[in-house]
């Protein structure tokens, strides 16, 4: 068992001085202080017994380095270590890892040595690893010459306390978020370990200071009641919801936070507890996401621009190829030999097909780059215009196109015409044995209209349901059906630009039904 420190060396003057500087009172003895060793030993024994007998308070002595030299029964009860286990070890082992990392044990000793006495509430660790909130008083022990002999620490477990304030402080301390309690004047009256860590201050540097030191803008303003509403009303508006603000650390660096406020009525008025969460990570993730989306949409746009410019600029040289092969054919067909006629015919045909491809590629890229505003559109009128454009094909094939009453939708009118035109045109083109019958209908589903274009054509094998919507995808030879295979890709792109989906149901020989959805009429 270690000897209590410094007792036999103190004089009354020392005691007074020690008192004045907040030093130890342990040495204050009524009598026999200057008496023989015998008497003193008796006193010492009494004190030892007294200290050891105290169960509710942990009383610990340390040397100037924080090495534990004495440990009472209360300490064993509260912290779990026996005296034999702990004496000779640094009191740092009672701190939570975060505090150890930031050098809090040494710092506490320094503060106590400077001021003589230090009171705080802090998290401590038991032998079994569990944590608790301790209210503790550290006292510097000095000899007559002012030389530091060591420290005493008296502490008790707040979480065991029945006092509600203590319980509250315990909860506050154990909270994973930084918690700061502020009074109506905007001064910090309480804060927890997480707050110390988050802002980089020691507790004693913030207590009594303005909260604007750590949250410059947006918090203090919310505490102030104006003429029209009480403080409680002012606060009620901000309670519960997360408020995003900027916080400032001791080193001046700033970081984004979200704070949740809750009022706390006490005898002195309303206090506000702010739970402060560092949202740097979330903010960074949000910024990263926004950036990714922007990059993606930019690269998409660039791609569309590229397709547009490429197809547009390719038209010029291609027009030359087409024109001159046609001129060649016109002037020299039948005037050279049979091979020459073949070659010219292939060149004319190739150039013509390429022209169609480029025209369609341009049409496809225009869906994205040249789209117009979404307005309320009579879909029946769009269909009428599409049918007018298809008049020739309808008459040639003997097709009968019918439709139910069609609704007003929110759409790009020109694109809706093109959509109907491409779908009806396909329905006619891929006709079955009889005359093509095409029927259009629309059913409402929530805020969308589902359109169907049903035909009695040759149908599509389900294995091609995905492929048919791809660019330049064709299921048939050019001899059977004309076209570049862009029609449905354009349809899909138009529907997607309108926030819908285009799909198909079909069986070979049993016709096809294409369905897509558009937004209902928008309120003016």
């Amino acid at each position: 068992m270690a000897r209590p420190l410094a007792v036999d060396q103190q004089t009354d003057a020392d005691v007074r001085r020690s008192s004045e500087m907040g030093g130890a009172h342990l040495a204050q003895t009524g009598n026999g202080h200057r008496g023989g060793d015998e008497a003193f030993r008796g006193n010492e024994e009494q004190y030892r017994l007294l200290l050891e007998g105290i169960q509710d308070y942990a009383i610990t002595m340390m040397d100037p380095n924080g090495t534990i030299t004495s440990w009472n029964a209360g300490a064993e009860q509260i912290k779990g270590y026996t005296a034999a286990e702990i004496i000779g070890h640094s009191f740092a082992c009672l701190f939570v890892p975060e505090d150890i990392v930031r050098g809090r044990p040494k710092e506490l000793l320094r503060i106590t040595a400077d001021r003589g006495r230090h009171v705080e509430q802090g998290l401590r660790v038991r032998k079994d690893g569990s944590q608790f909130v301790a209210a503790l008083t550290l006292t510097a022990l000095r000899d007559g010459g002012g030389r530091l002999l060591g420290f005493s620490e008296v502490s008790h477990d707040l979480s065991q306390s029945n006092e509600s304030g203590a319980k509250y402080r315990g909860l506050l301390e154990a909270a994973p978020d930084a918690m700061v309690v502020v009074d109506q004047a905007g001064e910090i009256v309480l804060l927890n370990l997480a707050a110390e860590k988050q802002f980089g201050y020691r507790r004693d540097e913030l207590l009594g200071q303005k909260v604007t030191n750590i949250i410059p803008v947006g918090f203090a303003e919310r505490l102030i009641a104006d003429d029209l509403r009480s403080a409680a009303d002012a606060l009620a508006q901000h309670m519960g919801t997360g408020i995003e603000l900027t916080a400032r650390r001791k080193d001046g660096t700033e970081f984004p936070i979200e704070i949740m406020l809750s009022p706390l009525e006490n005898t002195e008025g309303i206090l506000v507890t702010a739970a402060i969460r560092d949202i740097s990570v979330r903010k960074a993730a949000e910024a990263h996401l926004a950036q990714s989306i922007e990059e993606l949409s930019r690269s998409n746009q660039e791609l569309e621009q590229f397709a547009y410019i490429a197809s547009h600029d390719l038209q010029e040289p291609l027009r030359m190829v087409t024109s001159y092969t046609q001129l060649l054919s016109k002037r020299y067909s039948g005037k050279l030999d049979a091979d020459a006629d073949d070659f010219i015919a292939f060149a004319v045909d190739g150039a013509a097909r390429m022209q169609l491809l480029i025209r369609d590629l341009l049409a496809f890229s225009r869906v994205g780059t040249q789209g117009r505003e979404m307005l309320n559109v009579e879909s029946s009128e769009a269909l009428d215009r599409a049918l007018l454009n298809l008049q020739g094909a309808i008459e040639d094939s003997g097709a009968i196109v019918t439709s139910d009453a069609l609704p007003v939708v929110t759409a790009d009118g020109a694109q809706l015409v093109q959509l109907f035109q491409n779908l009806v045109s396909n329905a006619i083109k891929y006709q079955g044995p009889g005359a093509p019958l095409v029927h259009l209908s629309a059913t409402k589903s929530g805020s969308r209209w589902r359109f169907s274009v049903k035909d009695n054509g040759i149908g599509i094998d389900p294995q091609y349901f995905v492929r048919i919507f791809g660019m330049f995808q064709r299921l048939h030879g050019r001899d059977e059906y004309t076209g570049t295979g862009i029609g449905l890709a354009v349809c899909k792109k138009i529907v997607e630009r309108h926030g819908g989906t285009l799909s198909v149901e079909s069986q070979p020989g049993n016709g096809s039904t294409f369905t897509f959805d558009l937004a209902t009429e928008s309120a003016k």
Binding site: Q315, E316, R319, M320, T322, S323, Y324, Q326, L327, K330, Q355
Partner: protein
Amino acid sequence: MTFIGSNGMPIEVLLVEDSPGDVRLTREAFREANLAIQLHVASDGVEALAFLTRTGAYAEAPRPDLILLDLNLPRMDGRQVLAHIKGDDDLKTIPTVILTTSEADSDIVMSYTLRANCYLSKPVQLDAFEGLVKSINDFWLTRAKLPQRQPAR
């Protein structure tokens, strides 16, 4: 009163076009349409203005009866040439037809705003192009009454 094309006078047409392929195609098409047409070519806007103002190598250039103007040209583009022609008291009476590949609404609106007499886009197919040139000849150089040319200076 004499009108262009009558009494054996050649019809002077200025084609402002930078693509030799298009120049030749237009020449071929006019040859089929009207042998009386004298086609002059300026391959950019600067040349076109030199021709019209009879500057430098073009001191002896005739005043055209019709101008066919492409919009996208090197050095000085067709919009600037058009603005110059229609802003010039002497030149503004010459019918100026825009003949270009552009089908952009903005180009069409701008051309008429700058007082182009007509806007035509070049068709892709040879037949259609020949038909267009023929219709230019039929309308502008045959049916339309144009101001009489000033006697050469």
